[in-house]
Amino acid sequence: MELQYYREMQKSLEEMESGTNLAQKRIYLFGHCNATEELADLLMEKGYGVTAILDNSEAKHGMEYRRLPIVAPHTILREPAEQTIVCIVTRFYEAMYAQLRALGFTGEVRKLVDYNTYAEYSLSRETLERKKTRVEHGRVLIDCLEKKYPGHFRVFCPFAALGDVYFCMSYLPYFLEKRGISKYMVCVPSGSCVKVAELFDECPVEVMQQRELDAAIQAELYIQDENAFIAHQDRPYVVNLSRALYHKRIPLEKVYRCGVFGLSDRTEPNPPMHWKPYPDLNRIEKNRAVILSPYAKSVTALPAAIWQDIVAHFRTKGYQIFTNVTGAEQPLEGTMPVSPQICEMRSVVEQAGTFIGIRSGICDVIRTAECRKIALYPDYNYCDTKWKSIDIYAIEGFENIVVTR
């Protein structure tokens, strides 16, 4: 979970604690994902008992997270409503709220993170006024962008996922050429996304706070601006590409190439070009080291035992073992931390000779690196489709392995 959302979750929980006697409530969480796991961790740290995680995916029923069972949503009806609370930290709050009410659940339902500022399932006058105000704010933001980048076509990457930005930048040149666009700029929601965009081109890249970016995108939709494009596979809500996945297996790169940009399936991706060498490459023994990347913001974590086994394996082989860390992340036990910039990642993994990471955007960033690359996939389905995550996210040139333990 991005730090800004984690802080929002903490704050929302504190507000909830001051208004509700949580210790007296049966607490359920809705929607199993990385964010929900972090909420479960936080609640348990604070000494609250979480009863279960509700999830619509039948494939997950019977599974557990830290001994919390994952169960079907209708299970909530077994509980006395007035003594039960459902907490939601996914972007599908509106749909989940509606589902719980449709099931007949009358207890408290709380949104702890506002992931989805586009959605509010109401046509009340107050909602309409609020949303109009938001669009007007978005129009002001667009005017600012136009003043700062006059005559530039605007490309929006609505979500802070490194892989999404990677695919966008990789196929964007073909899209722009098709439309006869020579001057463009890219809007992204985080500094890391800027770093990925800068691997590809020296076009202007503007960072916007997520809520501001959402408002600007909403305004672009509202004013039907032909001078803008939203380059994403399922955000915002107007993008319906993910519906195809109920019917067909379409790997993510193809979703971008064909679905988002409307290019031929034979289009070759542009590789990133603006790499820099990591300044402390001498620290890493050439072809006798492994770079481990166990952390990802939007993917459920692998069990610690998996990484312990990997570390033990490479220790017996006499390898140097590094953990790629950023911010407050800690290196795995028995490993050394390494914190290259995104543009330095390729030099680091090529020096080491081996990269093993949980499947995340970092894997996309280094997909053109010449070394042994292993991507580990938690055993879960992609959203609520029948496909496993490996079916959608597998990367050519990697050893793609599903971790079933």
Partner: protein, 122 residues
């Protein structure tokens, strides 16, 4: 009753409301083809189709109703839809140049039109 009030009422009645925007880039004859599709004939959902285009088989089954919109009504609903996501039961289907869409898959030969219709009704 305003168009928004009508939509609000329909959201309580129908499983899905689809506003179809016939155009180009894969959406030629969209309304008629969608209404005549196998997907529409076999869906178990109660669907409302909104379009300014004529549909040769309105109310052909119990599954869907068809409302022909005026240009002004379509514009008003489109404005609303582009202001915010007011329901996960309402979708506007078009070939909008500002973002990707399912009909790009048809143009790339990855999906057929019928498969897109089935995906939309999922």
């Amino acid at each position: 009753m305003t168009i928004i009030e009508s939509i609000d009422r329909c959201l309580k009645t129908f499983d899905m409301i689809l506003m179809l925007m016939d155009g180009d880039g894969g959406t030629e004859n969209l309304t008629e083809d969608f209404c005549c599709s196998v997907a529409m004939k076999t869906t178990s959902k109660k669907v409302l189709i909104l379009s300014t285009s004529g549909c040769l088989h309105p109310n052909d089954t119990d599954h869907y109703e068809y409302w022909k919109l005026t240009d002004e009504e379509q514009k008003r609903i489109q404005e609303l839809y582009m202001m915010y996501d007011f329901s996960d039961h309402f979708h506007m289907i078009s070939n909008d140049s500002k973002y990707g869409g399912l009909f790009n898959y048809v143009n790339a030969g990855i999906m057929t039109r019928e498969e897109v219709f089935q995906a939309l009704l999922n």
